[in-house]
Symmetry: C2
Subunit: 105 residues, 2 copies
């Protein structure tokens, strides 16, 4: 188990990767829940409808796209939305997604 997962730097963010991340409904739901909560959430505390191994996969995709930051607290892996950095790189993108999601689209 890799205890210190690697995160991309802001300079490495790519639109392609971010779009590929948020195009999946499960991953978009994760982002939305993180955004709505306003605080970090453990992997197991999300309301998602897939198996644990699939969830791990989704978190990895989100992390590698730069959308979330992950760190361990005991056996739990916490997830933080990298909002500021995303907003700086792709202004309006995250807002557009979370807003549309909140409106039921």
């Amino acid at each position: 188990m890799e205890r210190t997962p690697s995160h991309p730097q802001v300079s490495q963010f790519s639109l392609q990767q971010v779009l590929e991340a948020v195009v999946d409904p499960v991953r978009r739901s994760i982002v939305t829940q993180l955004d709505a909560a306003g605080e970090d959430i453990a992997c197991g505390a999300f309301d998602i409808s897939v198996s644990k191994s699939t969830a791990t996969h989704h978190f990895k995709v989100l992390r590698e796209a730069g959308l979330i930051r992950q760190y361990y607290v005991g056996t739990s892996r916490m997830n933080a939305l990298r909002r500021t950095e995303m907003d700086r790189t792709f202004p309006g993108l995250l807002d557009a997604v979370t807003t549309a999601q909140a409106k039921g689209r």
Copy 2:
């Protein structure tokens, strides 16, 4: 050949469909070129690197997502960006995509 293709109404736009449309590099390039041109462009006048049949497929996906409007002029099929309607439905989304694209991400 269907001469009057159907376009979705604004009320039918879905974030999922729009994201699925713009996640493809070729389709995103089409949107970007349309946005940059500021005028309608015929299918054949785009700078794309796929075959004609594949291009047709991409235009169809964009049309069904509500991103473009298509109409015939002679044998040419013109494409118009549905900017206003998109902006009203998903504020900031199109801007975020085209801006990031223009900045080379």
